[in-house]
Amino acid sequence: MKTAVKYRIGKSTGFQVLTIVLAFSCVVPLIFILIYIIQAGITKINWHFLVNLPKPVGEKGGGIANALAGSMIIIAVASVIAIPFGILCGIYLSENKTSRLAYWSRLCVDILQGVPSIVIGIVAYFWLVKPLGSFSAISGSAALAIMMLPIIIRSTEETLLMLPDSLREAAFALGMPFHRVILKVIIPCGISGILSGVMLSVARIAGETAPLLFTAFGNPYLSTNIFKPMQSLPLLIFNYATSPYNDWHDLAWGASCILLIWVLLLNIFTKIITRKWKVQL
């Protein structure tokens, strides 16, 4: 072979090797983070850690029960707000593909997806915290619900668009009214896609801190009143990680470990569902 050809082939192989190396080196930081956080956190987690309140600085031990309970409540309330709203909007978009309202609505969903989470926090502050007069878990839930919406709407719309038209037409031919066609035929057929969208949105907001800073605000005590400030896992991690105390860092490592495992499991679970049901998101 001529040297020019050899050179070109060599260059091609070189580039291929470079691509492979670069592609796989992306994974390295993730693996480092996973290993580091699990190593630092797993030793802190025990029964005591899960059911106790954080102790003041200087005392050993203490747990994160308030943050766990708070996270659950805030996410549950956010889901209650966002899931029906998001699914209904997704239905509208898939049923009215070309109407003018659908165009604007779709545009707004796109915009909503790109809005930085901190901006949503500011808006929730003015919509709920100021009128209600105090920081509250419900305002945090509302902020998180706004962040869930675009994901749920998009996945619902895309799932329903993939269903064949014949399904809808057959149901209409039987004389079923519109709402029963949607609720009894279309939704059950697309439920797996919709559910995985919902789970993905929960996974996305479970670790969100920025919108909660000026809404749920955090609370060192266990609280179940959604109109009062409430602690949540990401807030606790942020507050304790930036504090100068080692005891609090320990709590934050344990909390990070729990949050990380929770979020990753949700994501992996969603992936498995999506693959099993052949849903495209």
């Binding site: 992306c26 580091y36 790109g114 901006v119 500011i122 029963r180 990401p234 942020f238 990680a241």
Partner: protein
């Protein structure tokens, strides 16, 4: 005698028959009314359902308009008092009521573009690897899923990890190259951001590269091109706008990212002297100072930062979405 009984019997049975017939008529009528009522109810339910759908769709539009209006209304105070000097005023001093956002604009731009600069080779490598070299198989699949998991890790965890692991490493690095070893700063924030934004450009780029028509590639191969030459002179030019859209999506993410940056950037309102100096981004200033803002102009100035951030990310995302749509059609 017998005939009378017979007659009696006949009239009675006729009576009974008549009654039966009328009762079935009534029943039918009742049934009919019920059916009409039911279909009325169904039609009403149908209309209510349709109307709910329209209201919900309208509500998303109202929501976004509401967000924008809230930001504009709440920041008018600051727009009025500081005017245009807000954007390039070099000092941010809430105590003396001087609000210039230039240090934060600079910080945001520096961190975001540095992060993009670091992450682009990696995300393009993933995109080319998954889109062209190895589109199928378990190993590429694993890589794809793992890269997507990078986006799933909460940003506060990146921040905490950065604070505990990356900051000391950067400090050592800074002593070696002879700058002031602070550890926290623009450079550290960019490193963390670079990791966080890899998946966005990678996953979009990958799907774009998969869409390159194979006859184009085959034509290039038949002319004797090597794989690298095909990638450089067919695939990359063809997917140019798609890859650019991926970069824009990453940029949008990087600009709005708050927690991880806040935790490692050092939080000073001074103009950063070099990329190793501590600074602040727009999002991190809001996160740090919003609950401390004690007078209306201060609060309003912070919201104006939020407004700028909102507008910039919206424009960037819209351009990105437009490009993607153009490419896929």
């Amino acid at each position: 005698m017998e005939t009378s009984i017979d007659n009696n019997l006949i009239t009675r049975s006729e009576n009974i028959l008549e009654r039966v017939i009328t009762s079935t008529k009534i029943r039918d009528a009742v049934k009919g009314i019920k059916r009409i009522k039911r279909s009325h109810r169904q039609i009403r339910a149908e209309n209510v359902f349709r109307r709910t759908l329209v209201i919900v769709a309208l509500a998303t539009v109202v929501l976004v308009l509401g967000i924008m209006l809230t930001l504009i209304i709440q920041s008018t105070l600051s727009i009025k008092t500081t005017g245009f000097s807000y954007l390039w005023g070099k000092t941010w001093d809430p105590v003396r009521d001087i609000f210039g956002a230039y240090p934060f604009l600079l910080g945001t731009l520096l961190t975001s573009f540095l992060a993009l600069f670091i992450s682009i080779p990696f995300s393009f490598a993933v995109a080319i690897f998954l889109g062209e070299y190895y589109p199928k198989g378990w190993l590429p699949n694993l890589l794809k899923n793992t890269v997507e998991l990078i986006a799933a890790v909460p940003s506060v965890i990146y921040g905490f990890w950065g604070l505990a692991v990356l900051v000391p490493i950067v400090r050592v690095f800074e002593t070696k190259i002879g700058v002031e070893p602070v550890g926290v700063g623009i450079f550290t924030a960019s490193l963390i951001l670079a990791i966080m934004v890899i998946p966005y450009a990678a996953s979009l780029g990958q799907s774009m590269i998969k869409m390159v028509p194979s006859n184009l590639k085959e034509a290039a191969y038949s002319l004797g091109a090597t794989r690298w030459e095909v990638i450089r002179s067919v695939i990359l030019p063809y997917t140019k706008s798609g890859l650019f859209a991926g970069i824009l999506l990453s940029l949008g993410r990087a600009l709005g990212e708050t927690m991880a940056v806040t935790m490692v950037i050092g939080n000073t309102s001074l103009i950063p002297k070099s990329i190793f100096a501590p600074g602040n981004t727009m999002a991190s200033v809001i996160a740090n100072e919003f609950t401390e803002a004690d007078h209306p102009v201060y609060l309003s100035a912070l919201i104006e930062l939020g407004l700028v951030l909102f507008l910039v990310t919206v424009v960037i995302n819209m351009i990105g979405k437009r490009l993607t749509k153009q490419f896929t059609n």
